[in-house]
Amino acid sequence: MTYHAMWIIVTASLVGLSCGLIGVFLILRKMAMMADAISHTVLLGIVIAFIITRELSGTHMLIGAIFAGLLTAFLVQWLHSLDVQQDAAIGIVFTTMFAIGVILIATSVGNAHLDVQHALMGEITFIPWNKMSLPLIGEVPKATALLALVLFVVLFVLVAFYKEWKITSFDPALAASLGIPVLLMHYVFLCLVSITTVASFDAVGAIMVVAMLITPAASAYLWTDRLSIMLVLSGLFGVISAVAGYYIAAWVDTSISGSMAFATGLVFFISFLFSPKHGWIARYLRLHKTVKKTG
Protein backbone atom coordinates (compact mmCIF):
# COMPACT_ATOMS: atom_id res chain seq x y z
CA MET A 1 0.00 0.00 0.00
CA THR A 2 1.33 3.44 -0.86
CA TYR A 3 1.70 6.17 1.71
CA HIS A 4 -0.97 8.12 -0.12
CA ALA A 5 -3.46 5.23 -0.06
CA MET A 6 -2.79 4.66 3.62
CA TRP A 7 -3.86 8.19 4.52
CA ILE A 8 -6.99 7.85 2.42
CA ILE A 9 -7.93 4.63 4.20
CA VAL A 10 -7.19 6.08 7.65
CA THR A 11 -9.30 9.13 6.84
CA ALA A 12 -12.13 7.04 5.46
CA SER A 13 -12.07 4.76 8.50
CA LEU A 14 -12.30 7.76 10.81
CA VAL A 15 -15.33 8.94 8.84
CA GLY A 16 -16.87 5.47 9.09
CA LEU A 17 -16.23 5.22 12.82
CA SER A 18 -17.53 8.67 13.84
CA CYS A 19 -20.55 8.49 11.55
CA GLY A 20 -21.32 4.93 12.64
CA LEU A 21 -21.39 5.91 16.32
CA ILE A 22 -23.49 9.04 15.82
CA GLY A 23 -25.76 7.15 13.43
CA VAL A 24 -26.92 4.72 16.12
CA PHE A 25 -28.54 7.53 18.09
CA LEU A 26 -29.83 9.21 14.93
CA ILE A 27 -31.76 6.04 14.18
CA LEU A 28 -32.92 5.37 17.72
CA ARG A 29 -34.08 8.98 18.07
CA LYS A 30 -35.82 8.75 14.70
CA MET A 31 -33.85 11.69 13.38
CA ALA A 32 -32.57 10.30 10.07
CA MET A 33 -34.25 13.15 8.18
CA MET A 34 -32.58 15.66 10.47
CA ALA A 35 -29.18 14.19 9.55
CA ASP A 36 -30.00 14.64 5.89
CA ALA A 37 -30.93 18.24 6.58
CA ILE A 38 -27.84 19.05 8.63
CA SER A 39 -25.52 17.42 6.10
CA HIS A 40 -26.70 20.04 3.62
CA THR A 41 -27.04 23.07 5.85
CA VAL A 42 -23.48 22.79 7.22
CA LEU A 43 -22.45 24.01 3.76
CA LEU A 44 -23.99 27.37 4.62
CA GLY A 45 -22.14 27.32 7.94
CA ILE A 46 -18.83 26.65 6.21
CA VAL A 47 -19.42 29.35 3.59
CA ILE A 48 -20.34 31.95 6.19
CA ALA A 49 -17.32 30.98 8.30
CA PHE A 50 -15.17 31.42 5.19
CA ILE A 51 -16.68 34.78 4.29
CA ILE A 52 -16.08 36.10 7.81
CA THR A 53 -12.55 34.77 8.30
CA ARG A 54 -11.40 34.41 4.67
CA GLU A 55 -9.77 31.08 5.40
CA LEU A 56 -10.86 27.47 5.59
CA SER A 57 -9.41 26.27 8.85
CA GLY A 58 -10.72 23.38 10.88
CA THR A 59 -11.93 25.29 13.92
CA HIS A 60 -13.72 27.91 11.84
CA MET A 61 -15.46 25.18 9.91
CA LEU A 62 -16.51 23.40 13.11
CA ILE A 63 -17.94 26.57 14.62
CA GLY A 64 -19.74 27.39 11.36
CA ALA A 65 -21.16 23.88 11.26
CA ILE A 66 -22.41 23.96 14.83
CA PHE A 67 -24.03 27.31 14.12
CA ALA A 68 -25.71 25.95 10.97
CA GLY A 69 -26.82 22.75 12.67
CA LEU A 70 -28.43 24.57 15.57
CA LEU A 71 -30.00 27.15 13.26
CA THR A 72 -31.50 24.30 11.23
CA ALA A 73 -32.97 22.73 14.36
CA PHE A 74 -34.36 26.04 15.63
CA LEU A 75 -35.94 26.92 12.28
CA VAL A 76 -37.49 23.46 11.92
CA GLN A 77 -38.86 23.68 15.45
CA TRP A 78 -40.17 27.18 14.81
CA LEU A 79 -41.99 26.20 11.58
CA HIS A 80 -43.34 23.13 13.33
CA SER A 81 -44.75 25.29 16.11
CA LEU A 82 -46.57 27.28 13.41
CA ASP A 83 -48.44 24.12 12.40
CA VAL A 84 -46.17 23.11 9.50
CA GLN A 85 -45.68 19.35 9.54
CA GLN A 86 -42.32 18.20 10.88
CA ASP A 87 -41.04 16.55 7.70
CA ALA A 88 -42.26 19.41 5.53
CA ALA A 89 -40.55 21.88 7.87
CA ILE A 90 -37.27 19.96 7.55
CA GLY A 91 -37.61 19.91 3.76
CA ILE A 92 -38.25 23.64 3.56
CA VAL A 93 -35.46 24.67 5.93
CA PHE A 94 -32.61 22.57 4.62
CA THR A 95 -33.19 23.16 0.92
CA THR A 96 -33.44 26.90 1.49
CA MET A 97 -30.31 27.05 3.64
CA PHE A 98 -28.41 24.84 1.21
CA ALA A 99 -29.52 27.05 -1.67
CA ILE A 100 -28.24 30.16 0.13
CA GLY A 101 -24.94 28.35 0.61
CA VAL A 102 -24.75 27.51 -3.09
CA ILE A 103 -25.54 31.11 -4.09
CA LEU A 104 -22.93 32.47 -1.67
CA ILE A 105 -20.27 30.11 -3.03
CA ALA A 106 -20.98 31.30 -6.54
CA THR A 107 -21.09 35.03 -5.72
CA SER A 108 -18.87 35.73 -2.75
CA VAL A 109 -16.34 32.95 -2.40
CA GLY A 110 -14.99 32.89 -5.91
CA ASN A 111 -11.83 30.91 -6.35
CA ALA A 112 -11.35 29.36 -2.93
CA HIS A 113 -10.95 25.68 -2.29
CA LEU A 114 -14.71 25.37 -2.07
CA ASP A 115 -17.15 24.57 -4.84
CA VAL A 116 -20.55 22.95 -5.08
CA GLN A 117 -19.30 19.78 -6.72
CA HIS A 118 -16.76 19.35 -3.94
CA ALA A 119 -19.35 20.06 -1.26
CA LEU A 120 -21.75 17.46 -2.59
CA MET A 121 -19.34 14.66 -3.41
CA GLY A 122 -16.22 15.38 -1.37
CA GLU A 123 -12.74 14.64 -2.68
CA ILE A 124 -10.89 12.25 -0.48
CA THR A 125 -8.12 11.77 -3.06
CA PHE A 126 -6.77 15.28 -2.41
CA ILE A 127 -6.76 14.95 1.37
CA PRO A 128 -3.22 13.55 1.81
CA TRP A 129 -1.69 16.57 0.03
CA ASN A 130 -2.98 19.18 2.42
CA LYS A 131 -0.87 18.53 5.50
CA MET A 132 -0.05 20.07 8.81
CA SER A 133 2.56 19.01 11.34
CA LEU A 134 1.55 17.89 14.79
CA PRO A 135 3.82 17.42 17.78
CA LEU A 136 4.88 13.79 18.35
CA ILE A 137 2.96 12.44 15.36
CA GLY A 138 4.58 14.50 12.61
CA GLU A 139 3.04 15.31 9.26
CA VAL A 140 -0.69 14.57 9.16
CA PRO A 141 -3.28 15.57 6.56
CA LYS A 142 -5.38 18.41 7.98
CA ALA A 143 -8.70 16.69 7.29
CA THR A 144 -7.51 13.53 9.03
CA ALA A 145 -6.40 15.45 12.12
CA LEU A 146 -9.75 17.22 12.24
CA LEU A 147 -11.59 13.90 11.97
CA ALA A 148 -9.50 12.38 14.74
CA LEU A 149 -10.32 15.34 16.97
CA VAL A 150 -14.03 15.07 16.20
CA LEU A 151 -14.00 11.31 16.80
CA PHE A 152 -12.40 11.94 20.18
CA VAL A 153 -15.07 14.49 21.10
CA VAL A 154 -17.90 12.23 19.89
CA LEU A 155 -16.52 9.21 21.76
CA PHE A 156 -15.99 11.21 24.92
CA VAL A 157 -19.48 12.73 24.96
CA LEU A 158 -21.21 9.45 24.05
CA VAL A 159 -19.32 7.42 26.66
CA ALA A 160 -19.46 9.99 29.45
CA PHE A 161 -23.22 10.47 29.14
CA TYR A 162 -24.02 6.98 27.89
CA LYS A 163 -26.90 6.29 30.25
CA GLU A 164 -28.37 9.76 29.64
CA TRP A 165 -28.27 9.21 25.85
CA LYS A 166 -29.94 5.88 26.36
CA ILE A 167 -32.79 7.12 28.52
CA THR A 168 -33.46 10.31 26.52
CA SER A 169 -33.60 8.22 23.34
CA PHE A 170 -35.84 5.52 24.78
CA ASP A 171 -38.19 7.45 27.03
CA PRO A 172 -37.72 11.24 26.99
CA ALA A 173 -40.81 11.79 29.17
CA LEU A 174 -39.40 9.64 31.97
CA ALA A 175 -35.98 11.26 31.53
CA ALA A 176 -37.51 14.72 31.93
CA SER A 177 -39.46 13.63 35.00
CA LEU A 178 -36.18 12.39 36.52
CA GLY A 179 -34.66 15.84 36.00
CA ILE A 180 -32.44 15.00 33.02
CA PRO A 181 -32.28 18.06 30.68
CA VAL A 182 -33.81 16.40 27.64
CA LEU A 183 -33.90 19.51 25.45
CA LEU A 184 -30.31 20.48 26.22
CA MET A 185 -29.18 16.95 25.36
CA HIS A 186 -31.12 17.17 22.11
CA TYR A 187 -29.16 20.25 21.11
CA VAL A 188 -25.85 18.79 22.26
CA PHE A 189 -26.61 15.80 20.07
CA LEU A 190 -27.35 18.08 17.11
CA CYS A 191 -23.95 19.73 17.70
CA LEU A 192 -22.31 16.30 17.56
CA VAL A 193 -24.13 15.52 14.32
CA SER A 194 -22.99 18.88 12.90
CA ILE A 195 -19.31 18.52 13.76
CA THR A 196 -19.23 14.90 12.57
CA THR A 197 -20.83 15.95 9.31
CA VAL A 198 -18.51 18.87 8.68
CA ALA A 199 -15.39 16.87 9.53
CA SER A 200 -16.52 14.14 7.12
CA PHE A 201 -17.49 16.73 4.52
CA ASP A 202 -14.10 17.01 2.86
CA ALA A 203 -13.76 13.27 2.62
CA VAL A 204 -17.17 12.18 1.39
CA GLY A 205 -19.30 15.28 0.80
CA ALA A 206 -22.82 16.19 1.86
CA ILE A 207 -24.69 13.44 0.06
CA MET A 208 -22.47 10.49 0.93
CA VAL A 209 -22.13 11.47 4.56
CA VAL A 210 -25.82 10.68 4.98
CA ALA A 211 -25.11 7.13 3.80
CA MET A 212 -22.28 6.85 6.31
CA LEU A 213 -24.49 8.20 9.10
CA ILE A 214 -27.60 6.11 8.53
CA THR A 215 -26.76 2.84 6.79
CA PRO A 216 -24.14 1.25 9.08
CA ALA A 217 -26.35 2.00 12.10
CA ALA A 218 -29.43 0.61 10.35
CA SER A 219 -27.43 -2.54 9.56
CA ALA A 220 -26.17 -2.89 13.14
CA TYR A 221 -29.77 -2.57 14.37
CA LEU A 222 -30.55 -5.83 12.54
CA TRP A 223 -27.80 -7.81 14.28
CA THR A 224 -28.27 -7.10 17.98
CA ASP A 225 -30.69 -6.29 20.77
CA ARG A 226 -28.11 -4.50 22.92
CA LEU A 227 -27.34 -0.83 22.55
CA SER A 228 -23.64 -1.18 23.43
CA ILE A 229 -23.14 -3.93 20.85
CA MET A 230 -25.10 -1.92 18.30
CA LEU A 231 -22.64 0.96 18.77
CA VAL A 232 -19.62 -1.30 18.31
CA LEU A 233 -21.11 -3.02 15.25
CA SER A 234 -22.18 0.24 13.67
CA GLY A 235 -18.70 1.73 14.02
CA LEU A 236 -17.22 -1.47 12.64
CA PHE A 237 -19.60 -1.51 9.67
CA GLY A 238 -18.71 2.12 8.99
CA VAL A 239 -15.00 1.28 8.88
CA ILE A 240 -15.56 -1.84 6.78
CA SER A 241 -17.68 0.13 4.30
CA ALA A 242 -15.10 2.90 4.08
CA VAL A 243 -12.20 0.54 3.43
CA ALA A 244 -14.18 -1.69 1.08
CA GLY A 245 -15.39 1.40 -0.73
CA TYR A 246 -11.83 2.54 -1.31
CA TYR A 247 -10.84 -0.80 -2.81
CA ILE A 248 -13.95 -0.98 -4.97
CA ALA A 249 -13.13 2.50 -6.28
CA ALA A 250 -9.53 1.53 -6.96
CA TRP A 251 -10.64 -1.66 -8.66
CA VAL A 252 -13.21 -0.20 -11.07
CA ASP A 253 -11.50 3.23 -11.12
CA THR A 254 -14.44 5.33 -9.97
CA SER A 255 -15.50 7.87 -7.32
CA ILE A 256 -14.24 6.91 -3.88
CA SER A 257 -17.07 8.55 -1.93
CA GLY A 258 -19.64 6.97 -4.24
CA SER A 259 -18.08 3.55 -3.73
CA MET A 260 -18.03 3.98 0.03
CA ALA A 261 -21.73 4.83 0.10
CA PHE A 262 -22.36 1.87 -2.18
CA ALA A 263 -20.43 -0.36 0.22
CA THR A 264 -22.65 0.75 3.13
CA GLY A 265 -25.61 -0.34 0.99
CA LEU A 266 -23.96 -3.73 0.44
CA VAL A 267 -23.37 -4.16 4.17
CA PHE A 268 -27.01 -3.36 4.82
CA PHE A 269 -28.19 -5.77 2.13
CA ILE A 270 -26.08 -8.58 3.59
CA SER A 271 -27.38 -7.79 7.09
CA PHE A 272 -30.92 -7.69 5.84
CA LEU A 273 -30.55 -11.17 4.36
CA PHE A 274 -28.32 -12.97 6.84
CA SER A 275 -28.75 -11.41 10.28
CA PRO A 276 -29.63 -14.28 12.65
CA LYS A 277 -32.18 -12.25 14.58
CA HIS A 278 -34.00 -9.95 12.22
CA GLY A 279 -32.64 -11.13 8.86
CA TRP A 280 -34.93 -12.15 6.04
CA ILE A 281 -33.65 -15.73 5.82
CA ALA A 282 -33.82 -16.32 9.57
CA ARG A 283 -37.33 -14.97 9.63
CA TYR A 284 -38.33 -17.18 6.72
CA LEU A 285 -36.85 -20.25 8.41
CA ARG A 286 -38.59 -19.47 11.70
CA LEU A 287 -41.90 -19.06 9.93
CA HIS A 288 -41.35 -22.34 8.11
CA LYS A 289 -40.59 -24.11 11.37
CA THR A 290 -43.71 -22.89 13.16
CA VAL A 291 -45.85 -23.77 10.15
CA LYS A 292 -44.39 -27.30 10.22
CA LYS A 293 -44.89 -27.61 13.96
CA THR A 294 -48.46 -26.44 13.96
CA GLY A 295 -49.32 -28.03 10.63
Binding site: Y162, D225, M230
Partner: protein, 253 residues
Protein backbone atom coordinates in the same frame (compact mmCIF):
# COMPACT_ATOMS: atom_id res chain seq x y z
CA UNK B 1 -56.12 15.56 58.44
CA UNK B 2 -53.50 14.06 56.15
CA UNK B 3 -50.77 16.13 54.53
CA UNK B 4 -51.60 17.71 51.17
CA UNK B 5 -49.16 16.11 48.73
CA UNK B 6 -50.47 17.78 45.60
CA UNK B 7 -52.07 21.16 45.22
CA UNK B 8 -53.26 22.23 41.80
CA UNK B 9 -54.58 25.76 41.42
CA UNK B 10 -56.23 27.35 38.40
CA UNK B 11 -54.22 25.20 35.98
CA UNK B 12 -54.84 25.55 32.25
CA UNK B 13 -53.08 24.23 29.16
CA UNK B 14 -53.53 24.08 25.42
CA UNK B 15 -52.48 21.87 22.55
CA UNK B 16 -51.73 23.86 19.42
CA UNK B 17 -54.44 26.50 19.56
CA UNK B 18 -57.08 24.51 21.41
CA UNK B 19 -57.48 24.90 25.12
CA UNK B 20 -57.66 21.39 26.53
CA UNK B 21 -57.61 22.21 30.21
CA UNK B 22 -58.95 25.21 32.08
CA UNK B 23 -59.48 26.23 35.67
CA UNK B 24 -58.29 22.93 37.12
CA UNK B 25 -58.26 22.98 40.94
CA UNK B 26 -57.86 20.12 43.37
CA UNK B 27 -55.92 19.02 46.44
CA UNK B 28 -54.78 15.43 46.99
CA UNK B 29 -54.09 14.10 50.48
CA UNK B 30 -51.27 11.70 51.27
CA UNK B 31 -52.13 8.04 50.94
CA UNK B 32 -54.85 8.50 48.36
CA UNK B 33 -55.29 6.18 45.42
CA UNK B 34 -56.92 8.44 42.86
CA UNK B 35 -58.53 7.40 39.61
CA UNK B 36 -58.61 10.10 36.92
CA UNK B 37 -61.65 9.39 34.80
CA UNK B 38 -63.15 11.14 31.80
CA UNK B 39 -64.05 10.73 28.13
CA UNK B 40 -61.52 10.65 25.27
CA UNK B 41 -60.02 14.08 24.73
CA UNK B 42 -60.92 15.19 28.25
CA UNK B 43 -57.26 16.08 28.83
CA UNK B 44 -56.34 13.27 31.24
CA UNK B 45 -52.84 12.66 29.87
CA UNK B 46 -52.32 16.37 29.33
CA UNK B 47 -53.24 16.97 32.97
CA UNK B 48 -50.49 14.60 34.14
CA UNK B 49 -47.96 16.07 31.74
CA UNK B 50 -48.82 19.64 32.70
CA UNK B 51 -48.59 18.84 36.40
CA UNK B 52 -45.15 17.32 35.78
CA UNK B 53 -43.91 20.23 33.66
CA UNK B 54 -43.64 18.01 30.59
CA UNK B 55 -46.24 20.17 28.87
CA UNK B 56 -46.32 23.95 29.30
CA UNK B 57 -49.11 25.37 31.42
CA UNK B 58 -50.83 28.60 30.41
CA UNK B 59 -51.85 29.63 33.91
CA UNK B 60 -51.91 28.29 37.40
CA UNK B 61 -49.58 26.71 39.88
CA UNK B 62 -48.81 23.21 41.08
CA UNK B 63 -47.26 22.42 44.43
CA UNK B 64 -45.92 19.08 45.60
CA UNK B 65 -45.61 18.63 49.36
CA UNK B 66 -46.01 22.40 49.49
CA UNK B 67 -43.00 22.95 47.23
CA UNK B 68 -42.42 23.62 43.52
CA UNK B 69 -41.63 20.70 41.18
CA UNK B 70 -37.86 21.07 40.85
CA UNK B 71 -37.36 20.97 44.64
CA UNK B 72 -39.06 17.61 45.04
CA UNK B 73 -38.41 15.91 41.72
CA UNK B 74 -36.84 12.86 43.37
CA UNK B 75 -40.02 12.16 45.34
CA UNK B 76 -42.16 12.00 42.21
CA UNK B 77 -42.54 9.02 39.87
CA UNK B 78 -44.11 9.01 36.42
CA UNK B 79 -45.29 6.07 34.33
CA UNK B 80 -45.95 7.24 30.75
CA UNK B 81 -48.39 5.47 28.46
CA UNK B 82 -46.98 2.19 27.23
CA UNK B 83 -47.50 3.32 23.64
CA UNK B 84 -45.36 6.42 24.11
CA UNK B 85 -42.05 4.57 23.67
CA UNK B 86 -40.53 2.42 20.94
CA UNK B 87 -40.45 -1.17 22.23
CA UNK B 88 -38.02 -2.13 19.45
CA UNK B 89 -35.33 -0.17 21.27
CA UNK B 90 -32.26 -2.40 21.70
CA UNK B 91 -32.42 -3.11 25.42
CA UNK B 92 -33.80 -5.68 27.87
CA UNK B 93 -36.33 -5.60 30.69
CA UNK B 94 -33.78 -5.27 33.50
CA UNK B 95 -32.14 -2.34 31.75
CA UNK B 96 -35.44 -0.49 31.37
CA UNK B 97 -36.17 -0.94 35.07
CA UNK B 98 -32.67 0.31 35.93
CA UNK B 99 -33.52 3.53 34.07
CA UNK B 100 -35.83 4.38 36.97
CA UNK B 101 -32.67 4.80 39.06
CA UNK B 102 -30.79 7.09 36.65
CA UNK B 103 -31.90 10.20 38.52
CA UNK B 104 -30.43 8.82 41.77
CA UNK B 105 -27.26 7.49 40.16
CA UNK B 106 -26.33 10.95 38.92
CA UNK B 107 -24.14 12.27 36.13
CA UNK B 108 -21.03 10.49 34.84
CA UNK B 109 -21.70 7.38 36.89
CA UNK B 110 -22.67 3.91 35.76
CA UNK B 111 -25.37 1.76 37.36
CA UNK B 112 -23.62 -0.48 39.92
CA UNK B 113 -24.36 -4.08 40.77
CA UNK B 114 -26.45 -2.81 43.67
CA UNK B 115 -28.63 -0.80 41.28
CA UNK B 116 -29.07 -3.85 39.06
CA UNK B 117 -29.99 -5.87 42.14
CA UNK B 118 -32.65 -3.32 43.10
CA UNK B 119 -34.05 -3.38 39.58
CA UNK B 120 -34.15 -7.17 39.60
CA UNK B 121 -36.03 -7.22 42.90
CA UNK B 122 -38.62 -4.84 41.45
CA UNK B 123 -39.06 -7.13 38.45
CA UNK B 124 -39.39 -10.07 40.83
CA UNK B 125 -42.10 -8.25 42.74
CA UNK B 126 -44.15 -7.96 39.56
CA UNK B 127 -43.61 -11.62 38.69
CA UNK B 128 -41.17 -10.79 35.90
CA UNK B 129 -37.93 -12.26 37.27
CA UNK B 130 -37.77 -14.84 34.47
CA UNK B 131 -37.92 -12.12 31.84
CA UNK B 132 -35.11 -9.87 33.10
CA UNK B 133 -32.83 -10.63 30.15
CA UNK B 134 -35.61 -10.61 27.58
CA UNK B 135 -35.43 -8.08 24.76
CA UNK B 136 -38.34 -5.73 25.41
CA UNK B 137 -39.98 -6.21 22.01
CA UNK B 138 -40.36 -9.92 22.90
CA UNK B 139 -42.61 -9.12 25.85
CA UNK B 140 -46.40 -9.12 25.71
CA UNK B 141 -48.30 -5.89 26.30
CA UNK B 142 -49.04 -6.86 29.88
CA UNK B 143 -45.41 -7.77 30.54
CA UNK B 144 -44.25 -4.47 29.08
CA UNK B 145 -46.62 -2.66 31.42
CA UNK B 146 -45.23 -4.62 34.37
CA UNK B 147 -41.73 -3.56 33.37
CA UNK B 148 -42.90 0.06 33.44
CA UNK B 149 -44.44 -0.46 36.88
CA UNK B 150 -41.26 -2.10 38.15
CA UNK B 151 -39.33 0.91 36.88
CA UNK B 152 -41.64 3.22 38.83
CA UNK B 153 -41.23 1.03 41.90
CA UNK B 154 -37.41 1.31 41.97
CA UNK B 155 -37.72 5.09 41.96
CA UNK B 156 -39.13 4.71 45.46
CA UNK B 157 -41.14 7.92 45.03
CA UNK B 158 -43.78 9.23 47.42
CA UNK B 159 -46.15 10.44 44.73
CA UNK B 160 -46.81 8.54 41.51
CA UNK B 161 -48.51 9.56 38.29
CA UNK B 162 -49.50 6.71 35.98
CA UNK B 163 -50.96 7.13 32.54
CA UNK B 164 -53.37 4.28 31.70
CA UNK B 165 -51.34 1.47 33.30
CA UNK B 166 -54.31 -0.89 32.95
CA UNK B 167 -55.07 -0.21 29.28
CA UNK B 168 -54.85 -3.31 27.11
CA UNK B 169 -53.32 -5.62 29.71
CA UNK B 170 -54.32 -9.20 30.56
CA UNK B 171 -56.30 -10.05 33.71
CA UNK B 172 -53.25 -11.41 35.58
CA UNK B 173 -51.30 -8.20 34.94
CA UNK B 174 -54.25 -6.08 36.01
CA UNK B 175 -54.40 -7.99 39.30
CA UNK B 176 -50.62 -7.72 39.81
CA UNK B 177 -50.67 -3.98 39.15
CA UNK B 178 -53.65 -3.34 41.44
CA UNK B 179 -52.01 -5.36 44.23
CA UNK B 180 -48.91 -3.20 43.84
CA UNK B 181 -50.90 0.05 43.86
CA UNK B 182 -52.71 -0.99 47.03
CA UNK B 183 -49.38 -1.87 48.64
CA UNK B 184 -48.01 1.54 47.73
CA UNK B 185 -51.07 3.14 49.30
CA UNK B 186 -50.60 1.04 52.44
CA UNK B 187 -47.06 2.42 52.67
CA UNK B 188 -48.54 5.92 52.77
CA UNK B 189 -47.66 6.75 49.17
CA UNK B 190 -50.00 8.61 46.87
CA UNK B 191 -50.89 7.30 43.44
CA UNK B 192 -52.80 9.08 40.67
CA UNK B 193 -53.91 6.82 37.85
CA UNK B 194 -55.52 7.72 34.53
CA UNK B 195 -58.18 5.06 34.16
CA UNK B 196 -60.61 4.23 31.38
CA UNK B 197 -62.74 1.39 32.70
CA UNK B 198 -65.74 2.80 34.57
CA UNK B 199 -66.78 -0.66 35.76
CA UNK B 200 -63.77 -1.08 38.03
CA UNK B 201 -63.42 2.45 39.42
CA UNK B 202 -65.29 1.70 42.63
CA UNK B 203 -63.23 -1.41 43.37
CA UNK B 204 -59.85 0.12 42.59
CA UNK B 205 -59.78 3.72 43.77
CA UNK B 206 -60.66 5.41 47.04
CA UNK B 207 -60.73 8.83 45.35
CA UNK B 208 -61.86 9.75 41.89
CA UNK B 209 -61.24 12.81 39.78
CA UNK B 210 -63.89 13.25 37.11
CA UNK B 211 -62.31 15.28 34.33
CA UNK B 212 -63.61 16.81 31.17
CA UNK B 213 -61.36 19.74 30.30
CA UNK B 214 -61.86 20.88 33.87
CA UNK B 215 -62.56 19.11 37.13
CA UNK B 216 -66.23 18.08 37.15
CA UNK B 217 -65.99 16.53 40.61
CA UNK B 218 -63.22 15.38 42.88
CA UNK B 219 -63.54 13.49 46.12
CA UNK B 220 -64.12 10.14 47.78
CA UNK B 221 -65.28 7.57 45.25
CA UNK B 222 -68.23 6.52 47.43
CA UNK B 223 -69.57 10.04 47.54
CA UNK B 224 -68.95 11.43 44.09
CA UNK B 225 -68.91 8.47 41.71
CA UNK B 226 -72.63 8.77 41.12
CA UNK B 227 -74.65 8.29 37.97
CA UNK B 228 -75.41 11.96 37.82
CA UNK B 229 -71.77 13.06 38.09
CA UNK B 230 -70.64 10.47 35.56
CA UNK B 231 -73.17 11.56 33.00
CA UNK B 232 -72.20 15.18 33.62
CA UNK B 233 -68.59 14.22 32.86
CA UNK B 234 -69.33 12.20 29.78
CA UNK B 235 -72.04 14.49 28.40
CA UNK B 236 -75.73 13.78 28.03
CA UNK B 237 -75.45 10.95 25.53
CA UNK B 238 -73.83 8.55 27.95
CA UNK B 239 -75.54 5.20 27.77
CA UNK B 240 -73.51 3.63 30.50
CA UNK B 241 -75.62 3.06 33.57
CA UNK B 242 -74.37 1.00 36.43
CA UNK B 243 -77.54 -0.91 37.16
CA UNK B 244 -78.09 -1.93 33.59
CA UNK B 245 -74.51 -2.95 33.01
CA UNK B 246 -74.70 -5.16 36.06
CA UNK B 247 -77.76 -6.80 34.61
CA UNK B 248 -75.89 -7.49 31.44
CA UNK B 249 -72.94 -9.00 33.26
CA UNK B 250 -74.79 -11.14 35.79
CA UNK B 251 -76.03 -13.89 33.47
CA UNK B 252 -72.47 -14.54 32.27
CA UNK B 253 -71.32 -15.14 35.82
Amino acid sequence: MAEAVLQVENLSASYRKNTVLFDVNFVVQAGSLVGIVGPNGAGKSTLLKTILNLHPSLTGSVKFFGLPFNKVQKRIGYVPQRGSVDWDFPTNALDVVTMGLYGQIGWLKRPSRLHKQKAFEALEKLGMADYADRQISQLSGGQQQRVFLARALVQNADLYFMDEPLAGVDAATERAIMTLLKELKALGKTVMVVHHDLQTVEDYFDHVLLLNRTVIQYGKTKQIFTRENISRTYGGDLRWLREESLHVHNPIK
